[in-house]
Amino acid sequence: MFVPFDYGYFDIVYDSESISSPPKTLDELINGPKDEKIVIEDPRTSTPGLGMLLWMKAVYGDAAAEKWEVLSDRILTVAPGWSEAYGLFTSGEAPMVLSYTTSPAYHQIAEETERYKAIDFEDGLYIQIEVAGMTEMADDPALAKSFLAFILTPGFQDAIPTHNWMMPVAATSEPLPDAFLNAVTPDKTLQFAPDVVAENRRAWIDEWLNAMSAR
């Protein structure tokens, strides 16, 4: 049994002090100036990395590999996880990073700056839904179930936006902060069925590896 506890969209976040005309489509991202670099995460070791792989696959299908090959010229490096990638981004190594639509909200609320922005891609964005679950080995299944129920109440959901910096999945007791209300919401939400992902993940990662090592 799984209960979603928050969600968000994978997105490219950019530093508006370094980039004045950000890409509006994936094509523009892929073919943009090579000296404006992006840091992404590795799909073999991180969820956002896998998210971007699926995003590209959802938009380009069989052409994804060649698109990756072109994009690889703009990729500064492929970090093992989100923390490493975002650390490189905020220390100024690259003006773009693969992150979430909700990342700018952190900078607006905690640092009071509009400097970092997410891009509203016309192709749509790939969604990430984070879930909680109960294992078969749970010591106290009744308690676990009541906690899972608690997840969907305001008591839990209130903590999501400004602590986990993601979107709540259920009602919160207060309206969301402006930074979240104004966050990028894609016109088109992209998502593969879980069994499609499970079936193809290995092949798609291999395809990605080959495309990224081609140049």
Partner: protein, 540 residues
């Protein structure tokens, strides 16, 4: 030779017992993992071109990283040994171990702050209108980072060796007015050469199992190590059999490299000194040689200190006072220190029992197959434990204890155990050469005085071995303090260490807190190094 039968038996069996404990600790974890999926199926990894490709890259980058680290470490160690007295020298020695104690990501960000695309080096050249020529991402970045972390380590181990040389050698060299070249050939090189296999082997293993650095600085998936594939198999695909098979390949191939290194010359007679170790180098008084050494040391210090300075500069802008008074910080510090201290003690105990048992076996005129096997296993284990990925050990133990609900209570012990194993190769490399010199110098004397057991420990061994023991202890503690690999699985509200806290702050965008914690962690390492290099009070 100079051992009573009881002494022989005691140290031999203590060694066997430690060996069994180390092997058992690893075997249990591997066994727990093998329960999931059949190992026979995982043998397929041998047929994957992908695995061969990353294996080739793993070995290639590790070879180059080791080569550069060791080749640059030798002149640094020689220069430091030739200049035993200059202001600030002890601080250089202390700083040498600080990179080891930092979480790898923090070190990487420090390096990138200097050598990165927007780093100080490129910034300076850009100011001079020379563009930004240094492109760190790629093999060159991996090498820079590996040399950054390992050159100081190698230099420190070589320096310790040079400082064991009896002072009379240098006095004689000076009286014969030997040129520096000749001193190198007859005195310094014979000390360094036998240390190379051990030091190079250690650096090679550290670089071969590198993961975060390789991905961050490698620039793309063409730069991937076996360790990445192991992590992927366990954390992402949950295919433990595959992880075990990949670990097997990693251990086997690296063992071959270590075996090849072991063919290099062995340690010779350490020599006996009549004087206490008041380091003087009358042979190196020449002005030119002083100038060259000063330059070498200065270059090394700049190389070592710049990335650390980046960490300090980022760290001081954090709310340090706020961090220092947070209850969760205090708890994490207490947990980290106690895990680090226990890990260091365990590592020291295991290392000592290995060393004494091996020494004991070597005194036998005709060791049997069992004794020889035991000595061989101890020396192999002392290196190869570093190749067993902490994530494999951690996951194995986690899965084993989970059903019994023990993993919360046992977690700190498991983490300390994994850290102790990781530190073992370091501790052995600090202690082993020191102990064999010490034994050679004191064994006859102790035997003739009939000193054994505790009395010998107090009167002979502790004063003679105090320095290497403290060095080993502080190395092991620093290593454990900065480790995230073992705690990554068990970390949480129940078990919060400093690196874990740092990463969780980073994971929720709180970069400033993370920078502050990195500074505090670095400072803590330095404090441990200060404690580890305190010179004993003068004895009368």
């Amino acid at each position: 030779m100079y051992l009573t039968t009881a002494e022989f038996r005691r140290s031999f069996y203590a060694g066997i017992l430690s060996l069994a404990a180390v092997i058992g600790f690893i075997a249990v974890a591997v066994f727990a993992l093998s329960g999931f999926g059949r190992l026979a199926d995982a043998a397929h990894v041998l047929n994957e071109p992908y695995v061969w490709r990353i294996l080739r890259f793993t070995l290639y980058q590790a070879f180059l990283s080791t080569l550069f680290s060791v080749v640059f470490a030798i002149p640094v160690a020689l220069a430091m040994a030739r200049r035993p007295h200059f202001p600030g020298r002890i601080w250089i020695v202390r700083l040498m171990a600080v990179p080891l104690g930092l979480p790898v990501l923090i070190g990487a960000l420090g390096i990138i702050g200097i050598w990165g695309r927007q780093g100080l080096f490129n910034d300076t050249l850009a100011l001079a209108e020379l563009g930004r020529p240094l492109q760190i991402y790629g093999l060159q970045g991996i090498l820079i980072a590996h040399v950054y972390f390992n050159l100081p380590l190698a230099a420190r181990l070589f320096l310790a060796g040079l400082e064991r040389v009896p002072q009379e050698y240098f006095k004689t060299a000076a009286m014969l007015s030997m040129p520096q070249r000749t001193v190198f050939r007859f005195v310094e090189w014979p000390v360094i050469a036998p240390l190379i296999p051990g030091v190079a082997g250690l650096v090679f293993m550290l670089c071969a199992t590198s993961f975060t650095l390789v991905l961050i600085l490698g620039g793309g998936p063409a730069a991937t190590t076996i360790e990445v594939a192991i992590y992927q198999a366990l954390r992402f695909d949950f295919d433990p059999a595959r992880a075990v098979a990949l670990s097997g390949i990693q251990i086997f191939v690296t063992a071959l490299v270590l075996a090849a290194l072991a063919l290099l010359p062995r340690a010779g007679d350490p020599g006996i000194s009549a004087s206490s170790d008041l380091n003087r180098r009358p042979d190196a008084a020449h002005r030119l040689s002083r100038g060259v050494d000063a330059m070498l040391i200065a270059l090394f210090v700049v190389w070592l200190i710049l990335p650390l300075a980046v960490i300090v500069m980022k760290g001081v802008s954090a709310d340090l006072l706020g961090l220092l008074t947070e209850p969760v910080f205090l708890r994490a510090t207490a947990t980290s220190l106690s895990i680090a201290f226990s890990a260091a003690l365990v590592s020291l105990a295991v290392a000592f029992s290995f060393i004494s048992a091996t020494h004991t076996i070597n005194t036998l005129k005709q060791p049997g197959a069992f004794e020889r096997g035991a000595a061989g296993s101890m020396s192999a284990m002392g290196s190869l434990v570093l190749l067993v990925p902490p994530i494999v050990l951690g996951t194995g133990w986690f899965l084993l204890l989970r059903p019994y609900g023990l993993s919360d209570a046992a977690a700190p012990a498991i983490v300390a155990g994994i850290n102790a194993l990781m530190a073992l190769p370091f501790v052995l490399r600090v202690l082993q050469p020191a102990v064999s010199v010490h034994r050679a110098r004191t064994a006859r004397l102790s035997a003739s005085l009939g000193l054994t057991g505790f009395a010998r420990l107090r009167i002979i061994d502790w004063p003679g071995l105090r320095k290497p023991v403290l060095t080993a202890l502080s190395f092991a503690m620093a290593l454990s303090l900065g480790d995230l690999g073992a705690v990554a699985l068990f970390g949480g509200d129940q078990l919060t260490t400093l690196p874990w806290l740092l990463y969780s702050r980073l994971g929720s965008y709180r970069t400033e807190d993370a920078n502050g914690l990195a500074l505090i962690l670095g400072a803590l390492c330095l404090v441990i190094m200060i404690a580890g290099t305190r010179t004993p009070a003068a004895r009368t």
